[in-house]
């Protein structure tokens, strides 16, 4: 598993995402509430690109008329058939044991650290004053 510098942190706005190809796989990296999550860009059901999924919240209700939104923006709702997944671990909401999207570890490193190595990307220009999103895949 290699570490790939895929973007500067400012490149992916909150609520946005970026798709990168790593070893023949399209991987989508979401930026939500200051965190970054990387997943295979393909719904396990019918192959829809997850970059087009709606980023939704968890909605729970203890009793009629009372509801609570939590984890806003961290759940994916696929653009086609509406299958829902947890961005944090790729688990599906409806069948977490069997249906899952592959996820990849993400870390943020500052340019100064990266410039020192050993994590220098092949071609990605690194500036010491910025920070970067690193995907391990």
């Amino acid at each position: 598993m290699a570490r790939h510098i895929i973007a500067s942190t400012s490149e992916i706005p909150p609520g946005g995402n970026k798709v990168v190809e790593i070893n023949g796989r399209d991987i989508v990296v979401f930026h939500v509430n200051g965190e970054y999550f990387a997943l295979l860009n393909r719904c396990p059901h019918a192959g829809a690109p997850l970059e087009k999924a709606a980023c939704v919240a968890r909605l729970t209700s203890k009793e009629p008329g009372v509801y609570e939104r939590s984890r806003v923006g961290e759940l994916l709702r696929c653009a086609w058939h509406g299958w829902e997944f947890d961005m944090r671990n790729g688990q599906s909401w409806f069948d977490p044991q069997r249906v899952k999207i592959r996820t990849y570890p993400v870390v943020i490193e500052d340019g100064e650290t990266l410039a020192k190595g050993p994590y220098v990307a092949e071609t990605f220009p690194v500036h010491v004053e910025d920070s970067y999103v690193i995907v391990e895949a």
Binding site: R25, G47, W80, V99, R102
Partner: protein, 370 residues
């Protein structure tokens, strides 16, 4: 954990995609703006559309009685970047679907403006006629892969016949579409003139799910939820297959080809088994039937595949396909609607090359004479 989850698109899938050109029997174009179809309407009906608009037998003008799963029942990624509703931009449809999926022909199914469910039959006829012209001008003329259907709402049978004649003279339409939810079941005598003309012209009869004909969408009454209404599409199709067969349509119009669109196919085996059993018991009640119902189904009817059933075990889908018959099935995607079936992944059971060729191409090619 299922093995479809963690892998890139396989090389053999890419290769299979390029090998097989697809005929998609259910592609939905949308009207970008009312002005696009007004040009095909007499002034009287343009004014009617602007002043009174659509009036159905269901509540909530301008929307559907059941909030659906996504805006305009569309894939969220199918909204054209240049604006307008999903399915309204040919360039984007080409780029997102027709070109990358190697679609050889796509048969247009227009649902806009509740064409078949207008309370005012004359207005319904005017918009059907306008949309018939619009399909050629905005779609078939611009992309010859896209084939138009003659919309001919059956409740105004006289109009339907006149419209079929008008469009048949133009000669570029590949089927005649009627609605599965109208005043009476499709096998009823009042609709026979349409079937007689379709047979003479050699045009298949297309029946796409949907519509609000004034009756509850299920035999049991009005559903509470969209999920329940959506489920009823298959029930409606089963009722219409039963009506067409038991009223003897294939016996009376033996050359008529009937295509059921967007009803899926999982319900067909049990519907035909049951009809056969009832036929054995009650054949003297329906002496116009000379053969078992299932034999008519296996010769005169075709079924588009979407929304495909997804049993837990792939072998059960395989059994369904065998029971219905590979020769009966026509691939359809329903693009750009939310329940789109991707031709590469929809069949979650292995098919032989010969079966793929039939379902994805040659069955439709034979019926529609491409």
């Amino acid at each position: 954990m299922s093995d479809v989850i963690d892998r890139p698109i396989l090389a053999e899938e890419e290769a299979a995609k390029s090998r097989l050109r697809i005929i998609d029997c259910d592609v939905h174009p949308s009207i970008h703006a009312h002005a696009d179809i007004e040009q095909f309407m007499p002034k009287r009906w343009q004014e009617h559309l602007r002043t009174y608009g659509s009036h159905l037998r269901t509540p909530y003008i301008g929307t559907t009685p059941y909030p659906r799963s996504s805006p305009l029942i569309a894939r969220r990624d199918a909204w054209p970047p240049t604006g307008g509703p999903p399915g309204s931009n040919l360039e984007f449809m080409r780029k997102q679907y027709l070109d990358p999926l190697n679609v050889e022909f796509g048969i247009l199914q227009v649902l806009d403006l509740f064409i078949f469910s207008q309370q005012n039959l004359e207005f319904g006829a005017a918009i059907q006629r306008a949309i018939n012209d619009w399909q050629l001008a905005f779609w078939s003329d611009r992309d010859p892969r896209l084939k138009a259907s003659i919309l001919a709402g059956q409740d105004d049978t006289q109009f339907a016949i006149a419209e079929i004649e008008r469009c048949a003279k133009i000669g570029r339409y590949v089927q005649i579409n009627v609605c599965p939810r109208a005043n009476e079941p499709l096998g009823r005598r009042r609709y026979w003139p349409i079937y007689a003309r379709a047979q003479e012209l050699g045009l298949p009869l297309g029946i796409h799910v949907g519509g609000y004909g004034g009756h509850a969408p299920t035999g049991g009454g009005w559903p509470s939820y969209y999920a329940e209404e959506h489920q009823s599409n298959a029930h409606t199709m089963a009722a219409q297959l039963t009506s067409l067969v038991l009223e003897g349509i294939p016996e009376r119009f033996p050359k008529l080809k009937i295509v059921f669109i967007e009803g899926g196919f999982g319900w067909i085996p049990s519907a035909t088994w049951r009809m056969d059993r009832h036929f054995e018991a009650f054949r003297s009640e329906v002496p116009h039937l000379k053969r078992k119902p299932s034999e008519y189904v296996k010769e005169h009817f075709w079924f588009t595949t979407q929304p495909i059933d997804e049993p837990d075990e792939a072998k059960h889908l395989r059994s369904l396909i065998e029971w219905v018959g590979v020769d009966r099935l026509l691939f359809s995607s329903d693009y750009p609607h939310w329940d789109f079936d991707d031709p590469r992944y929809a069949f979650k059971t292995p098919l032989t090359d010969a079966e793929r060729r039939k379902i994805f191409n040659s069955n439709a090619r034979a019926i529609y004479k491409f």
